[in-house]
Amino acid sequence: MGNYRFNLLVCAGTGCVSNNAFKVKTVLEKEIEKHKLQDEIQVITTGCNGFCANGPIVVVKPDDIFYQLLTEEDIPGLVEEHFLKGRPVQRLMYTPAKDEAPIPKMSDIPFFGKQQLIALANRGLIDPENIDEYIALGGYQALAKALTEMTPEQVIEEIQAAGLRGRGGAGFPTGKKWEFCRNAPVTGDSSVPGGNGDSPPAAEKYIICNADEGDPGAFMDRSIVESDPHALLEGMLIGAYAIGASHGFIYIRAEYPLALERLTQGLEQAREYGLLGEGILGTDFSFDISVSKGAGAFVCGEETSLIGSLEGKLPEPRVRPPYPAQSGYMGKPTNINNVETWANVPHIINRGADWFSSIGTDTSKGTKVFSLVGKVNNTGLVEVPMGITMREIVFDIGGGIPDGKKFKAVQTGGPSGGCIPESLLDTPVDYESLVQAGSIMGSGGMIVMDEGNCMVEVARYFVSFTQEESCGKCSPCREGTWHMLNILENITQGKGQEGDIELLEKMGKYIKETALCGLGNTAPNPVLTTIRYFRDEYEAHIREKRCPAGVCKSLITYSIDPENCTGCTVCAKNCPVACISGERKQTHVIDQEKCIKCGMCYSVCNFDAVRVR
């Protein structure tokens, strides 16, 4: 805790915060500075202590004095009496019950305790179908502040100073992107006809929310739109004001019906309150949003393809420059951001750039939401400060690998990303460090793998995905991924040849260099990183025709161990191709010619007698 005379722990649990804990903290810090005590007293926020009925709570260490039910008015007196004059203030004190709570506190459970919510601040608290509940927790205050107290340029400066970077994966500085669009000259004809669906009004500048979220295993954006659609809307409103856009689009994938429903309701309720439309909050700022549904193309997550789709054209990437900030939807300056990026904006406006940039690392500020899935105990959605290590996420927050299995790798960045092996578990999670390790942050998918995952099959799976989703415009991606897929399929079927690893490496590098857009540029990544860290698995498949993880069907055999087999006949009865023979109470045998490797015998055997090799 450093050389401070006192440490003041301000509870930042959602309960206390909704009772103004952050405001109390701000006043506390001001009063401490006023009395020039900032070198002796440190103020930090902590997770919930469980005393939610008595919040806002401040705990004074090392004295272990609890102050409760604090208001901003209490603070000047408290600082003067306790910290200047040394007299703790009885009337504000709280004595927590002596016996330990029988149930752990949220902050004691690593899954929750290590998270820090910004984009997901309202999660689990509000009814997403009721805008009043969003407002009750401080919603739309940031919009009011931006519209009535800040100029558009000041809003952009604040976002730049905060250091917010695009959360969709590329990590481009958001404030800079907004500035480009704000400064872009307005082009041509204002009476441009609208695009796909309901013809939106012509505008001089547009903003777009990319809610296409195509990475398999990623559901961060879905969760934000389902659980807190107004966080997205408020962010877009502030962005539109800053950029000078009068119309916006939300492009959401059609595979998210619940999110679409809640979003549509949210838009209607916002319009009823005049938070969208003409003259918002009594100012002369006007803005509205149209929703457009995707139609099942991963490539539409790429911004120029998305714009093409919005315009009613074929979704294929366009040459850049010109970038969308200069010439986007219908040739007009357009700013596109991801859902999570927009959701961070109201918090930055409310609490300031200094606060936001105090979280995270030097180059990666703030928090990131990850969907933690796969072979991990606590699967779910986690929002953590940038700079936390992969190890903490997988083992502390994730609770480690179930069934006593051994960690093998964590795949980040979806089909554009790579695998982080055990040796790199202490990699901090931020944009640059993940790239150095051979992966990328991506949109936030985090798939944990154990010894039962075959890394060659993982590469094959991702390449089959990108190959299926390739738009087909450029030959390196269209043809190149198809060739890589064929080679990988051969390897997983035992038809790999010596030299195939070098072939994949070289072809992957060529494709990365020559492809037109991000889909093609990054499609080889899963192959290249699995070769980099798990070359031995590739070699086993090619040289020994063996799958060490026991996954690739053509390379594994199911056999019955005579030591454990009791002859109970359950396997034979369940085999779909009737290829297991044996008398009652005699060791059974699988006919390898007929076996289809379905794994049924393995799953029904109660005596652990089936071996997969």
Binding site: A297, V299, L314, V319, P321, Q467, E468, E469, S470, C471, G472, K473, C474, S475, P476, R478, E479, G480, W482, H483, N486, I487, G499, E502, L503, K506, M507, Y510, E513, T514, A515, L516
Partner: protein, 201 residues
């Protein structure tokens, strides 16, 4: 006046130019397939990729398509480095693998020093020309010129690209005879591999 350097030779220019146009003025030849000077550039075939760097960071060069990349003041472009030639060979090998019978592709490959019969190629070229699975024969390289010319010149939109990825192909809308086709023959004229032909009705 802006200045661009291509293969060590300077060009001063005032108007907006792509790298390809600037190279033409210097009589430096860069191969193209999906480019046509009368149509908006597409950047799809990737055969015109060249290395481009800025004065500020000359060692951090990127491969950019010459047909679409704007020439910028102080830009340093190289069209014949090993990196550029290797990428060109890769692209033509992909096309050879896709359209082994196309005369024009075979000729272009030979000009680049890539043997259409697969001799003396690196491991990638060997695979693409010898081991890669054979597909349905076609000479179409999906350069999109036919689609784009029909959109831009007669503006009849009689051809489109259908499906995505490896299944992509050029067809009239709904695979029927296009009602809007006026038989102008622009598509056959621009096709680099003469895949589209004009017949008497």
């Amino acid at each position: 006046m802006a200045k661009i350097t291509i293969d060590g030779r300077d060009l001063e220019f005032e108007e907006q130019l792509t790298i390809l146009e600037a190279a033409k003025k210097l009589q430096i030849k860069i191969p193209t397939l999906c480019y046509n000077e009368h149509l908006d550039p597409y950047g799809g075939c990737r055969i015109c990729l060249v290395e481009a760097a800025t004065q500020a960071a000359p060692e951090r060069s990127r491969l950019v398509p010459a047909c679409t990349a704007p020439a910028a003041d102080g830009m340093i472009v190289v069209t014949n480095s090993e990196r550029v030639l290797a990428s060109r060979r890769f692209i033509i090998e992909l096309f050879l693998s896709r359209c082994p019978e196309s005369e024009q592709i075979r000729k272009l490959a030979a000009e680049m020093g890539v043997d259409p019969n697969g001799q003396n190629l690196d491991v990638v070229g060997q695979y693409l020309l010898k081991r890669a699975p054979k597909r349905e024969a076609t000479n179409c390289i999906l350069c999109g010129l036919c689609v784009r010319v029909c959109q831009q010149i007669p503006e009849r939109y009689a051809l489109s690209l259908k499906e995505r990825g490896i299944h992509r192909r050029v067809t009239p809308p709904f695979e029927k005879v296009a009602e809007s086709c006026i038989g102008c023959g622009s598509c056959a004229y621009v096709c680099p591999t003469k895949t589209i032909t004009i017949e008497e009705a």
